[in-house]
Amino acid sequence: MVSGKWVFLLATHHFPLTTKITAMQQEDFSPQDSLKIIQSMLEKTREDFSRDDFYFLVWGWVTFIACTGQFVLKNLVKYPGHYLVWWIVVPAVALTIHHSIKDEKTSRVKTYIGESMKWLWIGMGISYFVLSMILSKTGWGNAVFPFYILLYGLGTFVSGCFIRFKPLVIGGICAWALAIVAVYLDYDYQMLAGAAAILFSYIIPAYMLRSKTKSVTA
């Protein structure tokens, strides 16, 4: 049975308000009709997030490569400019901006979750920037990774809750656990903790999200 209350809650969750009101003004709804519309909107939302996994994968792989690359350059190759590997984020920023502009142009329906995700990740982007400024002042040689790992967890945990996708929620919790463990590790091993956190919180959930979306759309 679908009561009006639940139709309302589900609808505001997955459904653009303007479409909903226009549709309701035009015709009467049985609970079954409402469910059908909500289901179609759920599929639409999932499709949208299959596009969003691009960002998780780009940033996941870039950060993973940078963390492990710095570890290898510092400890195995003994290269003094090991931190230069982080310049890899510059093309990732360019790619992200390019992709998001392209995304904005393709007219997608705005959903409540989509808007929430947008604000979440704008906020996260600014936070990463501010954190980088703080750490560049306090010194990169100190234990910087626990703070980044903490933010990885924040972004993915909230995203997972928003889209009700457990692997992201679990990934966020794993990142927080690693953020605490990393405090007890030497700087070099904090890099590996960072790589592990990004693997669990970004890369693995993004691939799972992609395969789930594929199976739903198929």
Binding site: M1, F8, V183
Partner: protein, 199 residues
Amino acid sequence: MNEEKEPQLSGEESLKLINEMIGKAKQSYVSKGIASIVWGILIVVCSLLTWMQVQYKIDLGFDVWLLVFIAVIPQLLSSIKEKKQKTFVGHDEITMRYVWTTFGICIFILSFYSYKVYGNNTASLFMMMYGVPTFITGGIFKFKPMILGGLICWGLSVGSLYTPLATDMLFMAACGLFAWLIPGIILWNRYKKNQACNV
């Protein structure tokens, strides 16, 4: 079987139901601005007391930031009372619950860092963290005072890198004021106005 008994709603009836639900959701503890006001006052008071201790070398004999835990108790009681009275939870409220619970976890981990490793040099990091949920909440609700509050927190976080600890505490008080106290008062006034209109 039950579906047959479910009444058919006309477009107008559905809209009325949605409006009623939105009206009820607006009366929540969060959207009334009470939580925001409580936390705003708390951060302002704790920051100013810490500033006083540092500036005038006064020892109050206890950690003023423990007051945060005292404020959690009435907030928890109020939330439990509200939960019992409610017949439904709006999606807005669930979203905010995720954001602010996550913020709580992050502040806890940051406090752990502060206690364990980094000492008193974490004011900038706390201010950076204050900006995150404030900005997201403002963005999701299209509530400009909170968007601005979040941006001010981040600006002051960067600014505090160049100031001594005593000034950092004044910055932190400003964060509490702009991110929570002022937006909370605005929300409370709106709520009161709405209530007056509905009478």
